[in-house]
């Protein structure tokens, strides 16, 4: 699948974590552990090292800071993929050097899929 790469950094391969609703990073993610603390509806407990996919963010514009804290604590996702461009997520990812793309149809993936994200080609594929 073609995606629009906003923050390129190389080629990544990891497990996908697909959340089909907008998430409020600041409220739902613990920056120290990378765990989804405030999101009881999501069974997967950690976003660390995953290719994290969700439609777009919601809530506080301070969510950007949360991404920075995750990166600094070594608990950030490997990459973030959104359906729609989100200024809060995009600025947080660029600041924190987390690869980011939008314009993806995230419904083509399931949590647990092994996914390759090639930021040079703008390609997201199941491997």
């Amino acid at each position: 699948m073609r995606v629009r790469v906003i923050n390129p950094d190389g080629i990544f391969e990891a497990e996908a974590l697909v959340i089909l609703r907008p998430i409020n990073l600041l409220k739902e993610v613990d920056p120290v552990t990378g765990k989804l603390a405030g999101a009881p509806d999501i069974r997967e407990e950690s976003i660390s090292g995953k290719i994290l996919m969700f439609p777009h963010g919601k809530g506080s514009t301070v969510g950007s800071y949360l991404l920075y804290a995750l990166k600094r604590n070594g608990t950030s996702p490997l990459a973030i993929i959104n359906e729609r461009f989100d200024l809060v997520i995009a600025s947080g990812c660029i600041f924190s050097s987390i690869p980011y793309a939008d314009q993806a149809n995230i419904r083509q993936f399931k949590t647990g899929d092994r996914v390759r994200f090639d930021t040079k080609k703008g390609e997201l594929i199941k491997v």
Binding site: N7, V62, A69, F85, L87, S91
Partner: protein, 367 residues
């Protein structure tokens, strides 16, 4: 994207690592949003100042970048406590220490700690000026009422603009995006400043991020401020026009625009949503009061907190206590039920809020 020589140099690290990163953020965002260049800004206004909202993540971030300097005039939103009377208002010392660390970083970087969501009450921006402001109600006000230009920035994009002095040339910085796209006919008399806020909230919920054009209303600075705060809460409205009132309203031919109507039932529904009796405290000043509004609040028959910028504070009179640097939305107060005169405050406080017209509160009516 076209970059000037100065911008190119910042991107190469000429002004340090933090400025380089900020420049990269702005260039990438600009490219994603289709901007062809970066515009110089004259004033940045930052959000995410309260330890209650940014937490440990935000504090760590600011302490890491505090060696960088803001290159343009930079003001700040309210923080989580009144800097002079936090103790008597029951704020924990551990919170206060973290809050002060945040403010120290910002001051060191060169911010003017205005700690208000209405920086325009301290100094009005000028018509046509380019800004990068992150407080949504203030963004709506200055675009619409003053004719200055700023997008609804995120906490970090505004910070990047404060450090570099630039913002992507897109959104309402560009003339073509300031045109109205929906006409709002107001078929109800608005008697209170609170009603204006509720009108904004109702319309914001309908129009999302469009630019509404109101006909059939009149109002001064305080009423227009309330509409803007309501629009930015109910929706993500960045600017609005009011026929014969706001400075850019005459530019446009409104024939053929999609039309919506608001009547008294739409307004009443919002008051019912946040109805209720009692309340442990009354707060006025969301957004922060103007000097004139503060003076008028002194006639209150009940004890109220009036939130303003510290630079506008004066001697307290009557049963009014003046609260500076903060507001109940960003302060960790422990009141169970809070009476407010602003739909924005009600929306952020949620079930803890009771919404009343300001005039009724000052008269001590209804509770």
């Amino acid at each position: 994207m076209y970059l000037t020589r100065e911008q190119e140099e910042i991107l190469q690290g000429a002004k340090g690592e933090v400025a380089e990163k900020c420049m990269r953020v702005l260039v990438r965002l600009g490219e994603a949003l289709g901007a062809e260049r970066l515009l110089p800004i004259e004033w940045a206004h930052l959000s995410g100042i309260s330890y209650k909202t940014i937490g440990e993540a935000g504090l760590e971030f600011l302490e890491d970048i505090k060696e960088a300097d803001f290159s343009v005039k930079t003001t700040t939103n309210p923080c989580g406590m009144d800097l002079l009377r936090w103790k008597e208002l029951g704020i924990d010392e551990s919170f206060a220490i973290k809050q002060l660390r945040i403010l120290n970083c910002l001051e060191r970087m060169g911010a003017s700690l205005t700690l208000t969501c209405t920086p325009y009450h301290l100094e009005m921006p000028k018509f046509g000026q380019h800004l990068a402001w992150a407080e949504s109600s203030a963004v709506c006000f200055v675009n619409s009422v003053i004719g200055a230009r700023t997008n609804r920035e995120g906490a970090l994009s505004a910070l990047a603009s404060a450090i570099t002095g630039f913002t992507p040339d897109c959104g309402v910085h560009r003339e073509e995006n300031r045109a109205p796209d929906v006409l709002v006919k107001v078929g109800v008399e608005l008697n209170s400043v609170t009603d204006f806020g509720v009108l904004g909230y109702v319309v914001g919920e309908i129009v999302g991020d469009s630019v509404p054009y109101f006909v059939g209303i009149r109002g001064g600075i305080d009423q227009l401020k309330a509409i803007g705060a309501g629009l930015a809460t109910g929706g993500a409205v960045v600017m609005f026009h009011v026929q014969d009132v706001t400075p850019e309203s005459k530019k446009y031919d409104i024939r053929g625009l999609e039309k919506i109507e608001v009547d008294h039932r739409d307004i009443q529904k919002v008051y019912e949503k946040w109805g209720g009796e009692g309340g442990d405290a009354i707060f006025l000043g969301c957004p922060h009061l103007s000097k004139e509004e503060l003076q008028r609040s002194f006639k209150s028959k009940k004890p109220v907190f009036a939130c303003v910028a510290r630079l506008l504070a004066c001697r307290e009179r009557g049963s009014v206590r003046i609260l500076c640097d903060t507001c109940p939305v960003v302060a960790p107060f422990r009141f169970d039920k809070i009476v407010v005169d602003s739909v924005k405050a009600a929306a952020y406080l949620g079930e803890r809020a009771i919404l009343r017209r300001r005039e009724e509160i000052l008269e001590g009516k209804g509770y």
